[in-house]
């Protein structure tokens, strides 16, 4: 149980430093377990289940944050920015996976790892910096919404690819995922209150058990249909709406924090820290490139909405942070055994870097952008 005391230490510190806890959980996990300072035996069965529940809760709470109506309007407003986001930010992952010879499966995993921003870190940073009222903030948030929906399509594909299904099987997985998402969105728009009524209960304990039970049941069904357990939980979260969603989020938040922390620590435990130094160079290059592509995405998206230069820079910097989902994706890869250990090490190092760089970039973007703008004004204008 030493890992848990370590875990507790990693959790306490960031609460005051406003730094996201994910990198600390990962480092805490890396320090122990496989190749770490102390090998932990006989905790596998418990930690595996705990981390699976962690992923389900992570996605369920994400789904609870959005209503179906928000997702649909977000999708309508930001699909162009969303497509630019996919093209710019999957490319670095695909390129590095192919360069390092990890094949198409590795490329698909790395595409997801470099693509998705951490909506948790980004929302926290925007709120901490008092930027919720800014004009570029809705742009940033709608890019995040698009990414989260994209995950609902990507994860089933990933699950199918990792399971080694044929091309036809992959297409079937995409087909099922798209149909299920459409049905859930339309269903949640029209009949969301029925789903809410089904899990709602005036009694706190009964309510908790109903929501948790429903999430695990839906996740299990989704998993059996090869659509990925996490996506099932995400879609259930979307379908639950209104005050039921708010209450569910409030009750489940501490559980999510606990199990998600376990998930990150277990991921760290299963990663041998000795595999990280060899990939550190690649991770640094990837971090620089993926920061640049996210800045470009935010820049472009904010510009489309008529936000001025400083706001474009802020939007770009806000999107840099990667976190929980990159680890979820790498974790799925690692669990399947279909990807090389180097890939998992690279993903770990990459997330460690990006989860720290992201908030720092969001904080320092204004003075940096101002300096750049002034310099560009001082250079003689092209005539």
């Amino acid at each position: 149980m030493r890992s848990f005391s370590r875990l507790a230490c990693s959790g306490v510190w960031p609460a005051r430093s406003a730094c996201p806890p994910i990198p600390l959980y990962l480092v805490g996990g890396l320090a122990f377990g496989q190749g770490g300072a102390i090998e932990l035996d006989n905790i596998h069965e418990f930690t595996e289940i705990a981390s699976e529940i962690g992923v389900v809760l992570l996605l369920l709470l994400l789904g609870l944050e959005y209503s179906a109506a928000e997702l649909v309007t977000g999708l309508r407003r930001s699909w162009m920015a969303g497509v630019v986001d996919i093209v710019l930010n999957c490319t670095p992952g695909v390129v590095i996976a192919l360069l390092l010879g990890w094949g198409p499966v590795g490329a698909i995993v790395m595409a997801g790892v470099t693509y998705i921003s951490s909506s948790g870190i980004v929302a926290k940073v925007l709120s901490d910096l008092g930027r919720l009222g800014n004009r570029e903030t809705p742009v940033v948030l709608s890019v995040l919404v698009f990414e989260d929906l994209a995950m609902a399509v990507y994860l089933p594909i990933l699950t199918a690819v990792l399971a080694g299904v044929s091309f036809l099987g992959g297409l079937t997985a995409i087909g099922i995922a798209l149909i299920v998402i459409t049905v859930v969105l339309v269903g949640a728009l029209r009949y969301g209150r029925f789903v809410s009524a089904l899990v709602d209960s005036p009694d706190r304990e009964v309510f908790l058990l109903k929501v948790l039970g429903a999430a695990l049941l839906v996740a299990g069904i989704a998993s059996a249909m090869q659509v990925s357990a996490a996506v099932g939980a995400f879609l259930l979260g979307i379908a639950i709406s209104g005050s039921t969603a708010e209450n569910a989020a409030r009750i489940l938040e501490p559980l999510r924090d606990l199990f998600a922390a376990m998930f990150f620590v277990v991921f760290g435990l299963n990663t041998d820290p000795r595999t990280i130094p060899p990939v550190l160079g690649a991770a640094l290059i990837l971090a620089v490139v993926a920061s640049a592509t996210k800045v470009a995405t935010g820049w472009w998206a904010a510009r489309q909405q008529g936000v001025a230069r400083m706001g474009q820079a802020r939007a770009g910097a806000a999107l840099i942070a990667r976190g929980e989902f990159s680890i979820v994706i790498a974790g799925l890869g690692a669990a399947s055994g279909a990807v090389p250990p180097d890939l998992v090490a690279l993903a770990t190092a990459y997330v460690l870097l990006m989860a720290v760089i992201g908030p720092i970039a969001a904080r320092t973007v204004e003075p940096i952008a101002r300096a750049v703008f002034i310099r560009s004004r001082l250079t003689p204008a092209r005539t």
Binding site: G133, N134, T137, P138, L144, E246
Partner: protein, 160 residues
Amino acid sequence: MNVEVTPLPGIGVRKDFAIQAGRRVGVVTHKDGQTELIVSKSDDPDACLASLPLTGDEASALANLLGAPQLVAQLTEEHRDLPGINTKQLPIRPSSPFDGRTLGDTSLRSRTGVSIVAVMRAGQAIPSPTPDFTFTAGDMLVVVGTAEGISKARDILIDD
């Protein structure tokens, strides 16, 4: 006034408008009901100079401060032809003996001749409150009467 309503997915709603001085002023309402007052910067209209979290009580107090003078000014304008008639705003403070009691309990009209024409609560004007209307601390009463009557009414509302 053109109030722009912008959804902030996962967070809440932003409602703001441009004021004549060129800045944006508005509120961000979080899903859990928390309110933030936002004021944009003068040199960067996209960014916020301030983003102040307000409790429910604070928000409604601020709304009363902003709304009541408008109502008083409007009523004063209407009574301009009647010399000797004044319109004033009187607050119900938490220390007031009438916090939690009804308008009828004050017997304000029979004791001072002053009429309560409206009560500002949470930024909303409640016109012509009836005798069974219950006051709470933070209410702003808009009263009409003679200067002498209003001064008496103020004393009554502060201390019985």
